[in-house]
Amino acid sequence: MKNIFLILFILITSFGSSQECNNVLSGKISDFHDNSTLENATIKLIGTNKFTISDKQGNFKFEKLCDKTYKIEVSHIACETKIVSIDVQGDTYDVVIKLEHHLEQLSEVTVNTTVTRKETKTAQEAVIKASEIEEFSSGSLADITETIAGVSSLNTGNNIVKPIIHGLHSSRVITMQNGVRMQDQEWGMEHAPTVDVNALQEITLVKGASALAYSGDAIGGAIVLKPSRIYKRDSLFGKTIASYNSNNRGYTFSSSLTKTFEKGWYVGGQGSYRRFGDSQAPDYVLSNTGLDFKAFSVQAGYRSFEQSFNVYYSYVDNEIGILSSAHIGGIDQFIQSIESQQPATIRDFTYDIRDPRQRIKHHLAKVEYQKRFSNLGKFTLQYDYQSNQRQEFDRRRGEFRGVPSIDLLLQTHGLQSKFLFDSNSNRKYNVGIQLQYQDNFADPATGVFRLIPDFERYDMGAFVTSEWELNNDYLVEGAIRYDFNHIDAQKIYRDFRWEERGYQEDFADIIVDEDIAPGQLLTNPLYDFHNISVALGAKKSFGNHEIALNYSLSNRAPNPSELFSDGLHQSVARIEVGNLRLGKETANQLSATYTYQNSKLNLLIEPYVNRIDNYIFIAPTALGIRAQGQAGFFFEYEFLSTDALIYGVDLNADYSITENISFQNSTAFIIGDDLDNDEPLIDMPPFNTRNTVQYQNKNWSNLSLGLTSELFAMQNNFPDYNFLYTVPSTGEEVLVDVSTPPSGYHLLHFNSSIETKLFKKNTLEIGFNIQNIFNTNYRNYLNRLRFFADEVGRNFQIQLKFNY
């Protein structure tokens, strides 16, 4: 039908060529989202010199137009430029042209914009931009987040690093990778996020549990990772980063390329390769601390301002060596290691990675569809799949040499649907549901009792978040979320453990097979958790000052490691025992953010207090030690719960001394108390402060020079788990000091970079950095391998960054 009209129309217009051009075209320019009118939009008739500007009511008018199809270009300062075709036949009135006028979109249209997309408006948040992320192209995610006040790192050696937010880590901190909640067995202290930092465009870190659109159990916080954004225009762009570290003779290479088409289609890919040899402490080689990291991601899709479609796939294959001397055979060797103050194994430098080591392979696939509805909002539907295989290799003998001791395959399917009602920019609502199914398989071919059992897990979450802008200075937000978790595990207990923990009395009903193997029984623990989470916040501005308050209630179901683990962690000579009696953690957190901003100073003070009932932690068992077969005694720790209170303050200050020189400080102070046992919580970050002086001159090839000082005080608040132990071979009684934190330390780092233009549109940035300038010997309280070796010494780093 349409075509017939078109033909008729063409016929009529061609016959009517002698006709006078005296038509009027008038209409209105309005916002796609809320139908508000847009003033000052430029409306241009393509192919003519006619243009006009919309008035206060968004109206425009052209006169003396011919009967023909006009192409009209409409542009507005905060909108995507739109080209529409309009048939003018006689006078044409009331044409409505809708433009995409949206803050959120703004950052996607304008390159180098300063608009930040915050996850919440009133909680404590920090955003790290691409340029800062790129400085850490050979580092880990936690190395980057550590630069935020109040965020520390939990290390297992120097390559396994995970973020600690306000003293909380592992299952209490979630990582969102491109809209997908990472399921990479984050429960373990020596399980680092399986993320390629070179694929990230932006990192937003929410301290505390307020980002309820992502989860209700992120008691510590959420780390939201975003890959490169797609700019809608016809182009081909990318970047390549290469770097070399002197300390571990490690090199990193990362490259990305994206092609976008005028119509809105795009396709892109990115890959990274990273190969490190043994790191070096000031006095010796840290043997077997190499890394072999490979990752790539691809994405394709379509994006217009009304709908978008995205397919994304990423793969990470990470092989990490674990310090040889940390792989020990019990308390006797642990004592020797503490006494000798240096690693038992020091070999020559090598790139080779041998056992003990970890090998992690993570696949993440996602399909997302978004549609915007005029005058209503944005709908999102997403399906994602993740597969995480974790293999941990110990030194083994005979035919089991090279066979992993732990081999877990965790597969997760996720489905979510959201609707953002944003047509009224003063009152926004985001409503959504999330479903997740998870299956864990522990391969029995390892020949080692499963540390984590086979389990299935079902999760369902539903949330409403809302944001009300009462006036220009006053904003409130509120969110509520319901979560249901169901855990169905198949756990084999050894008889002695079952009886010793008194499970026979309380859990006899979960036994499936009393004698699945000699001395072993099969159980089917089932858990259901119903959780309600709430977040409330308000923000008020007074001129240069701004105050935000945020309260959150959140709950976390115990993870499979806390419930079920049972086995030896050779890397810390520790047997870890789960606890079937654990309930969920409930956290009530209150935080405040004070911001002061003027042309020179940007000051942020963020106090917080977090009360966690049923806080799950790991502590020595009553005996503290257990003989492991013929190999002698090892530490034995179990998961317990207590009521905890964590409070502290983060401070951040940016000061521009002159146009070229700036000073930055970030400081964090935190206290964690175990209220039931009236003692400090373990693994709380010590007081730390970071000061940077930076010189930057845009006129001299964007020269940048900086000096950073980091001070970590000694942690004086720690629980005392030390005990007396009689060394069997000598009969001597020794105090085994597993608790006392190492002394405080101060480190100095240098960074520099310069930028040159290559060809017309390309830039090359050359960076030179020195970490630990004075080659300081130190040990870090938050490194689980601190008993065995010093931290990494001085490192010279060269980085080349090529943008095209």
């Binding site: 040889s324 030194r395 479903l435 257990r626 190999a631």
Partner: protein, 202 residues
């Protein structure tokens, strides 16, 4: 027309929103593979360790130090209550047996095969002296140029009457070894065996 269109889009929105709800039903109905996990029967266990001391001058004077762990994982039982009795000032030929009685394997054979990465260290507070025998298996640690005697075949000389302990340690993949000093010394690696018995010399 316009209101129809609006209704249509609203309908579509609601439908799209409901879609995941249907998927939930699908979710709950699928994947019910409640296969029992296979039990793990760990290999390469060490269940039974015996250190056999035979008096060189009197082969009826045999003292055997045993440590038995039923499944190779629980704490072993040692036969030193009451303490084991040695003849003061006697000379003993000593050898070791190591078994995995769960999987019925002679672990010692494996250790002798892998002599390059194993080493016995002994310790005592009961006044013995010890030498590694000429027929003791010899291996060389990776990266080392000095061969070491494993410590499987040794000769012990008892001193005057006393009480004390004897410790036996088998170390897997040590990083350095001193085999010709006293009872041997090593650093690095981890223990396959680390047991201590109470003994009496009389």
């Amino acid at each position: 027309m316009k209101s129809n269109l609006l209704n249509f889009t609203k309908m579509k929105t609601i439908k799209l929103f409901i879609l995941p709800m249907l998927a939930l039903a699908l979710f709950a109905s699928c994947s019910d593979d409640d296969d029992s996990p296979a039990p793990v029967n760990p290999p390469e266990l060490i269940t039974d360790v015996a250190i056999i001391f035979t008096n060189a001058a009197d082969d009826t004077d045999v003292v055997t130090l045993t440590a038995v762990s039923a499944d190779g994982i629980v704490e072993p039982t040692l036969n030193d209550e009451p303490p084991l009795v040695f003849t003061a000032n006697a000379t003993y030929n000593v050898t070791v047996t190591i078994f995995d009685n769960v999987n019925d394997e002679n672990i010692l054979e494996e250790i002798v095969d892998e002599v390059d990465e194993h080493f016995f260290v002994y310790a005592t507070t009961a006044g013995f002296t010890m030498v590694r025998d000429a027929d003791d298996p010899v291996g060389t640690l990776e990266g080392s140029s000095t061969p070491h005697k494993l410590g499987l075949e040794t000769t012990w000389t008892a001193g005057a009457a006393t009480t004390g302990t004897i410790t036996v340690q088998l170390i897997h993949e040590p990083t350095s070894i001193a085999s010709d000093v006293g009872f041997g010394a090593a650093s690095g690696g981890e223990f396959d065996i680390n047991q201590t018995w109470d003994v009496v010399l009389q």
